[in-house]
Amino acid sequence: MQSATAQSGTAQSMRDYLVNHLREYGLLFALIAVMVFFQITTNGTLLRPVNITNLLLQNSYIVIMALGMLIVIVSGNIDLSVGSVMGFIGALAAVLIVSMGLPLMLAVVICLVTGGLIGAAQGYWIAYWKIPSFIVTLAGMLVFRGLSLWLLQGQSVGPFPREFQVIATGFVADPFPAAWGQSLAVMFGERNVNVLALLTGVVAAGVIVWLGVKKRARNASFGVAGEPFLFFVIRNVIIAAALVFITFKLASFRGLPNVLLTMGILTIIYAFLTENTVIGRQIYAVGGNEKAAKLSGIKSERLTFLAFVNMGVLAAAAGLVFAARLNTATPKAGFALELDVIAAAFIGGASMSGGVGKIVGAVVGAFLMGVLNNGMSIMGIGIDYQQMIKGLVLLAAVIFDVYNKSKRA
């Protein structure tokens, strides 16, 4: 009898926990559900190694920009210019490298610095003159779209030299002896296995689980009722399994794409920056309540300015990846892409009013959109329906947020 009540008590607390954290679980399960759905409807094409590689390459520039966008949104702003800035930097890279023949490294540095300057120019008006970011970056969107057209004289410029294309389309060489890969290939019945790729996945999964356990232990030591153990296990098993699964697929194709490495490293850096540093914490404070943050000695103007500088640099990086992937710079590059980037941040749980949002959420949000795009394209669904469905997904995610909040209040 007593154990029955105890059990219903834990069930109750588990349900409470689930209700309070529905958002985080919801995002993870939505991604899984969408992948399973398309895996079935595309007869297994979705998770074929070549398609997974493709999916990562296709969404890399959105993910890179989503990192910066999340910070901008957390600080209580928005950046509508990123698509245009990305296109403009691609054009600049083409002119510098293809037309002028500048050394690659120099051209890349010039492009990133230009991106930072563009961010600084916009951030200056937003941070120090208090002009709404919506307006400043709307203007920026038009200006840089025009500048790319002018720079390219309306033409496409390309192709880029091989060494530049590698940024987007290259793979990390496997440093391990070929014999290891071959024996693994025999073991799993594949043609080839890239040891580095597989190892990276296993190590990453291990690190994530280890960090999770550490955090759990810390919470427990402060007597905080954390995630129910069952959920903790399920969540970690899913994430670890997914990581190993994906890297295994990659390993059986051509290994780790360079962009995945770039994306992965950037994601880790920004996740760390936002969650574990003073500056990251202060950005959340500014977005949460700027007046209170200012009265606590936080330099809100400077942080807003830096958020935009950072966004500019990341948009430039995305522009380089995009140009390298297409192997040409076109005046239309990046058109309307800012909407995908902003959508990724909001699907990932960022709040329009600022102060709320996580880097990992934005990355998962970007991939959710990416899988939708990819899956629907493989199924042969027309671009008309694709747009409608993506729009509804964004709306649903935000409605879900608002509903959740109102239910808890």
Binding site: R218, V278, Y284, S296
Partner: protein, 510 residues
């Protein structure tokens, strides 16, 4: 006589918390009924149940209104029956005129168009009832808080109110405005409007209330009748906190050391109207271990003075000298002010003091993140320890330091703000209305804290509109009016009358 309202055995549970536990409330026709209790005692929840914010079915118990069982599903339902609640945070649209606000959502129309003629006439009549003489076309933002409160009441009257609920109506009013409001309540009572008042100000309650219901921890403790019971403030306080509270201002060993902060010839211009001086040549000082009060009416410039000193957070063209420990300091930014040893606890904790969506822990560390970080990297374990320390020492009532501060009651929120500033290790604390809108128990704790700070040799400046508080707590009191210091009184010389007369006589002379 049958009561107008009878709430029987109302219980309301939130996940994990029992906010109301079989509360009874009976309000007679035509009376003013006061509901008092500490923050978190359940007063607001009870009123939300009554007004339909929590719809019928989401609580247990029965509401009998006007002789029948009522089941309100929304505020609209309860308003249709003449129950109108005026919240602490006023719900007026600042840019619309008085007339537009009065009939908002309830417009007087003819053929679908607003009938401005009748709107204006009815507005005039309503304004006359509440004693306002402003033009119906005046935008509400041009009115002071006191007048806005009266507009809210006029708005209720426009809806044919039968039961008017006032939630802390005088919390942000000056003494004169509060007085006018209480007078108006008595007039409305004479006109037959039944009223419920929620307030922390016991003297006001004693003045207007016919019956007093005391809530504690979500339950009804007692209902006192002004005519038959011997009602003293001590009696009410005892019921509220569940124990006797002999002395509302804890005693302190008074001692004042060397001058800690000196402000000289401080002048500030209005941020939007540079030709207006908001602060005129103000000089004052605080000594080590001293508690100094700044008295004055609403709009006397006290908050503006404090904020202009604290990192030039208010005003422009700030001139004057600030010295800390005898050395001149530049206080041009908030971080410079914090580094110089200042802390400013704002009067508006919700919009200026806290990030409501963030946790207790993150709010406490916000002004001194350096102390929980190394080379710019946060040490969250250390941060949690710090927050836990304040949770215990300040007696912050929260399930954990990871709780969002918006879920805390007003008094506990204020303790979080105070913790934040204590953690920044200031030499001088400026406390702006430190006990506004918080209950007697938490007030007492905050007074105790102020004494503790003074015992540590810190200087404390209290800005308060509650004169008994200043008289009970301070060693010296500066009296401010219209941006200037009118005079200075020592604790022995000060009295409410002397402070008021200083404000009145000197301003006539100016």
């Amino acid at each position: 006589m049958q009561p107008l309202l009878e709430m029987r055995a109302i219980s309301k549970t939130f996940p994990g918390v029992k906010a109301l536990d079989r509360v009874n409330l009976s309000v007679a026709q035509g009376e003013i009924h006061a509901v008092v209790g500490e923050n978190g005692a359940g007063k607001s929840t009870l009123m939300k149940v009554l007004s339909g914010v929590y719809p019928a079915g989401s609580y247990d118990g029965e509401i009998h209104y006007d002789g029948e069982l009522a089941a309100f599903r929304s505020i609209r339902d309860s308003e249709a029956r003449g129950i109108i609640i005026i919240h602490q945070e006023l719900a007026l649209v600042p840019l619309l005129s008085i007339a537009e606000n009065l009939f908002l959502g309830n417009e007087i129309t003819r053929n679908g168009c607003i009938n401005w003629h009748e709107t204006t006439q009815r507005t005039r009549a309503l304004l006359a009832k509440v004693g306002l003489r402003d033009a119906p076309t005046t935008p509400v933002e041009k009115l002071g808080v006191g007048k806005q409160q009266l507009v809210e009441i006029a708005k209720a009257l426009a809806k044919d109110v039968r039961l008017l609920i006032l939630d802390e109506p005088t919390a942000s009013l000056s003494e004169a405005d509060s007085d006018a409001l209480l007078q108006l309540m008595l007039e409305l009572k004479a006109a037959g409007v039944t009223q419920i008042i929620i307030s922390h100000k016991l003297n006001e309650i004693r003045r207007v209330a016919d019956n007093i219901t005391v809530l504690r921890d979500g339950a009804t403790v007692s209902t006192l009748n002004a005519a038959t019971d011997q009602i003293t403030e001590n009696r009410i306080v005892r019921d509220m906190v569940g124990r006797d509270m002999e002395n509302r201002y804890p005693v302190r060993q008074r001692r004042a050391g060397a001058p800690l902060m000196e402000i000289e010839n401080w002048s500030v211009r209005h941020p939007d109207f540079p030709d207006r001086h908001v602060i005129k040549n103000v000089s004052f000082n605080v000594r080590e271990g001293e508690v100094v009060g700044i008295a004055g009416l609403m709009g006397a410039g006290r908050t503006e003075l404090a904020m202009s000193i604290f990192g030039q957070s208010y005003g422009r063209d700030i001139t004057g000298e600030a010295r800390i420990n005898g050395k001149p300091v530049r206080l041009h930014t908030v971080s410079a002010a914090i580094a110089a040893g200042l802390a400013y606890v704002t009067e508006d904790r919700k919009s200026l003091g806290l990030i409501l969506e963030e946790s207790v822990q993150r709010n406490i560390s916000m002004a001194n993140l350096k102390a929980v970080a190394k080379n710019g990297l946060l040490n969250e374990a250390r941060e949690t320890q710090v927050a836990e320390g304040y949770r215990k020492s300040m007696n912050i009532r929260t399930p954990s330091v990871f709780q969002q501060v918006m879920n805390l009651s007003g008094g506990n929120q204020q303790k979080v703000v105070l913790s934040k500033w204590l953690f920044s290790e200031p030499a001088v604390l400026i406390l702006d209305e430190p006990t506004r809108g918080i209950d007697v128990g938490a007030k007492f704790e905050i007074y105790g804290l102020i004494n503790e700070l003074s015992a540590q040799g810190k200087g404390v400046v209290i800005i308060s509109s509650e004169m008994p508080e200043l008289l009970g707590m301070c060693d010296r009191i500066y009296v401010m009016n219209e941006g200037a210091i009118m005079g200075e009184l020592t604790a022995q010389d000060a009295s409410q009358e002397r402070i008021m007369s200083m404000i009145v006589t000197k301003s006539e002379k100016v």
